[in-house]
Amino acid sequence: MKSIRHILILIMFALSGFGCASVPEPSPGKGALYGTLKAQSHKEFLDKQSGESDVGYDGFLGGIFYSEAMVNYPRLKNLYACLMNPAHQGGAVHALEINGSEFSIKSMALAKGDRLRVKNNSGLTHHLYLTDDNNEDGFQEYAPIPPQSEQDISINLEGDLELNSEEDESLRMHVHSGKGLDCQRLTSGDRYVFQDLAPGNYNVMFWFWRLGSIKHQVTIKAGQSRLLNETLSVDRVIH
């Protein structure tokens, strides 16, 4: 069993070599920022699984088997790599659907001034509103969206926010909004690239609503592609 496992791992490693990501080429006078964003279990949990123990979560190919009840960090969706770019104007449109008692996306990072194009697939008219996690007075409400119709709503608050519905308390989406935030939505292990950046200093943020954020400051030089990989986990965010 162990030898089969080792052979399979070797095959996967060899195949992955063919898909090596190339370094992005910036335009003349510009730079780029790129890297991989991953999510990971708590360090203590990982350390325990790598130890010799009868009690664990062993997967078939080694590593951890994530049951349905667990957070599957290697496959976690809706991670965000965001560049705080003063040149980036809000106003982008992001699609969002209401399906029964759920939004199609559970969390989103975006620029202040961006819009959500909300398609109401439910049988209820929804009065959506936006509140601020850290400021009770931070509040924005929107016109009602009738069933089977679509409407654009603009995000004019900044910070850690929540989008809810007056009609259905279980409808909830976590939002992180900031001025000039240029964000890319990723699944754990995905590559992100910010191309054609003017040389200068930038703040970079990696975020997932249930893990919080890790921030960096990077300097981009003309003709340079700067590599910045990051891993989001509870212990890395908090400690």
Binding site: H42, F45, K48, A69, M70
Partner: protein, 206 residues
Amino acid sequence: MAQIGKPVITIFLTLLLVLAPCLAWAHGQPVSGTVQVQGGKKLKKMILYLEPANSSFPISHNTHKVTQKGRRFNPGLQVITQGDTVEFINNEDKEIDHNVYSLAKTNIFDLGLGEKGSTLKVKFEKEGKVNYYCSVHKRMEGKLFILPSRYHTILKTPGDFKIDNVPPGRWVLKATHLHRRYKSKTLEFTVGNQPVSNLVLEIVKK
């Protein structure tokens, strides 16, 4: 003996009648009233609490327990006071690990991994609302309301309320709840040596 007994009883009863209001004053008064929600919305689980208006009260040092059996925090919503400690007890039947953490700005913490049979503790020094999670299990979420004083009550639906044994002084009545569309007004009042009643606290739409 009977001649000594009667005057003793009389003195005792007299003293009791004189001192009773003073004792009541020293032990606090009940504060009661009603909560009204704009539009008559039936908000669930409202926490009404008192904050001292212009003085501080001794910090609380109680301990509360949250269990984790069945991959659930129980109770999922808890009300505690500034200075209290919460113990997270892994009482799972199987060998299931849990990690408890919070990203709340006023109370950020990571208690590490707790195996079956373990207890992880955290003390809450600042008031506020705290959402906490288990990093291992996706549906494990809990909520804490950390209040500035232990004078509070929980209402399942809007209506009448009563908070007992409130010490004399100037107080502010507030409410907090889970529905983010609404916010509570505040009400300042004084507790003396009589019960305070007929307060009306309004909860309005933002």
